[in-house]
Amino acid sequence: MSDTSFTGRLRSFADSDLFYSFRRSKTTIIAAAALVLLFVTAVFAPQIAPHNPFDIAGLNLLDSELPPSWMEGGNPAYWLGTDTQARDVVSSIFYGLRISLFVGFASVLLAAVLGVFLGLVGGFVSGFVDAIIMRVADVLLSFPAILVALLINGVMRGILPANQHEGAAIVVLVLAIGLTNWVQYARTVRGSTLVERQREYVQAARTIGVGRLRIMLTHILPNVLGPVLVIATINLGMAVLTEATLSFLGVGMPPTQPSLGTLIRVGNEYLFSGIWWVVIFPSATLAVLVLAVNLIGDWLRDALNPKLR
């Protein structure tokens, strides 16, 4: 009888195949470490960041555009230098990461859940329902996230009283990115569901009276998780960047609270002008984030894939 206490469960996890394949591949360990590090810095940003870039009263324009501390003209208080608004680059990355991680993961989750469910329903219950879902997908597919965001933003601003706009900004971002990205998941899952639906094990399950919903979730879903994971991990990077473009349109976070994406978008204007650190470090952070997520996605997909075990 498996020991269901926490330590027991932990021990049984420790010697399971999953953990074994994790231990063996070096890249996955590094990726996991990087991801944990990024999460920790994001969650504990206020505690560990040397400065608070969002406290605009504390900014002193005199020390803007300082190079990283190890270069001449650098100030040791600002390890990686400061940006045009005299915000410490390191702290801005920590705070920016917080927003980008939340928006990124929340929107990918929303898109994945919505997409997978509609894909399953579409593929499983083909015919009329399937046609509607696919056509709604086509409609949504043609709208770039930018336009959907403006619509949701407009509606949200219309409903909520002025003082709640701050909080609403994040919700608008997640909804906008999520609602425009679910289509990829839906179509992929639909494709696989059409194939799986023919398989004997599904017909067998139906003959013994298993509910359609349970069949979809417990039988078909594990088999279609592979491509979904690939898309989800790749889309995370895209979601963070889309958030930056939306902020540019005034829909996202206010400029005084830049996300990681916004730091890159603003910094990009200065790529040529010599203050490269304003864009290179945030971009590097994003690159590490996306890399880590995708490598872990790969490992998870191979480890969980029922066929590969």
């Binding site: 399937d130 409609v139 043609s142 407009g154 790749i234 960047l241 890399l291 894939n305």
Partner: protein
């Protein structure tokens, strides 16, 4: 097959109507076009006049109805910004985007599939691990940063490639093509590579995942048992089976390319529909935006339908079984 096409056509019309309706709903939140038409020091009375002449104050439904009726006759109205009929603008711009997206798509397949196969056949190889990480870096850097870096290296430092524009184009009747001139081709290299980067990574990873799975299939084991050469097994038997799901994803991602073209065209000043759309958003040029969205939605329906048809061509199981073909294609 005909029934399938007719049904898809009907659905396409519905999709376009829905897209146009949502587009009109949305334009109210994009800012007021009048601000851009009249000069900054125009009087309130002048603004009212423009609003009246553009019939902006009509109820939404009326504006939408008028748009649909005109669109049916191919008249998408005139752009507020450069006072030219939208249909002419789109006809001029479509070839630029089409050629860019086409080359990017081909590039992503030409690079994506072989790389996907290589990383699948030698999963543990150092090179394939490296390739995988490299491909990931390609999509984790924001596109506008990669674009600028490409320009910095290939135009400014090396001076090999132009940093902007589409080079010389030749008018072959109804289409402006950049394929037939040296400068046109040179101008195409950087933007198409930047555009294909995202698609390339996705195809590579999907081909790898599918190939790994196919290599475990019984018919592959049987093929090896028959002593067939590795090359035949990998590139004939395994590859064809791998490509079926990749076709779906590719068809789907083709749509993504069109949306992505917007950023690429702005960075490389590529005179395509994407750049036109961004100008329209900045200028709240309602006719251009509405026409662009309707056309893009038509494009998506066409792409999705052709992908489903392509499914039948590649997968003989469907082709020979007519009834299931229409079922599957719904």
């Amino acid at each position: 097959m005909l029934v399938f096409l007719v049904r898809r056509l009907l659905q396409a019309v519905m999709v376009m109507l829905a897209v146009a309706f949502i587009a009109f709903l949305m334009f109210r939140y994009l800012g007021d076009p009048v601000n851009n038409i009249v000069s900054q020091d125009a009087t309130q009375e002048q603004r009212e006049e423009v609003r009246k002449r553009l019939r902006l104050d009509d109820p939404l439904i009326l504006q939408y109805g008028r748009f649909v009726v005109n669109a049916a006759q191919g008249d998408f109205g005139v752009s507020y910004r450069n006072s030219r009929p939208v249909s002419a603008l789109l006809a001029e711009r479509f070839p630029a985007t089409a050629e860019l997206v086409l080359v990017a798509a081909i590039l992503s397949l030409a690079l994506g599939i072989p790389l996907g196969i290589y990383t699948a056949l030698k999963p543990r190889g150092v090179l394939s691990q490296g390739l995988q990480i490299l491909s990931l870096v390609g999509i984790s850097l924001p596109t506008f940063v990669t674009g600028i870096l490409l320009i910095l290296v290939f135009s400014v430092w090396l001076g090999w490639l132009p940093s902007f524009g589409r080079g010389d184009v030749i008018d072959i009747g109804w289409w402006w093509t950049g394929f037939l001139t040296a400068t046109g081709l040179k101008a195409l290299i950087l933007p198409s590579f930047m555009l294909c980067l995202f698609q390339l990574t996705l195809i590579m990873r999907l081909v790898r995942a599918e190939m790994l799975e196919v290599l475990r299939a019984d018919y592959i084991k049987f093929a090896r048992a028959r002593g067939l050469r590795n090359r035949t097994i990998h590139f004939r038997h395994a590859l064809k089976n791998t490509l079926i799901p990749v076709v779906t994803i590719f068809g789907l991602q083709l749509g993504g390319l069109i949306a992505f073209a917007i950023i690429t065209e702005t960075v490389f000043q590529w005179p395509g529909m994407g750049a036109l759309f961004i100008q329209a958003v900045n200028f709240t040029d309602v006719p251009v935006m509405a026409a662009y969205l309707v056309m893009v939605s038509l494009l998506f329906v066409i792409i999705n339908t052709s992908v489903d048809l392509l499914y039948n061509v590649i997968d003989p199981r469907l082709r020979t079984d007519q009834t299931r073909a229409t079922g599957r294609g719904a």
